[in-house]
Subunit: 114 residues, 2 copies
Amino acid sequence: MSDCIFCQIAAGQIESDIVYEDELVVAFRDLNPQAPTHILLIPRQHMGSLDAASDEDIQLLGHLTLVAAQIGRSEGIAEDGYRLLTNVGPDAGQSVPHLHFHLLGGRVMHWPPG
Amino acid sequence: MSDCIFCQIAAGQIESDIVYEDELVVAFRDLNPQAPTHILLIPRQHMGSLDAASDEDIQLLGHLTLVAAQIGRSEGIAEDGYRLLTNVGPDAGQSVPHLHFHLLGGRVMHWPPG
């Protein structure tokens, strides 16, 4: 069993509120939501952060990003809007060392983005 | 000539401080930087936002995301960290209706992300 909590969520070893999954990615609700809709999207394959991605991951990254847009529509926030982001490393406050994107919507998002 | 300011930047019709470009994407410094490093990445092809992307754009989206990681390294912020995000629609404060990702680093980013 992996030590990585997001690998464990992807493998179904830790319960989470999953909103979407396929063979490549899993999306689930953040336990500490910062907006009415706050969903995390992860690749099933372990990758420390976006900085660990390589040319072989282009299809996966594009797919994950497009799934985020699909979830925006299924969550009913596509029209009003949402912010999609990933944190890399300590300055960004990356909390789990497994690549994940945050999808936040359902409220006005402010600027600067943190 | 397109009315879209980012199409004009991509076409070289408006000057910008370009840090990277290839046949698919252009990256340039934001005119109102919110961090020591603040770069915008856009596809050359016009697309209103991430919500306008379709399956045909998976390769493009993946490429753009990977280019962001490459720029993170070339800007020297990959180790300390950075935040990569895109705003969709009014709630997110999307200011230009041409898909763009913000890459911000060189300082501690706060939470929530706006």
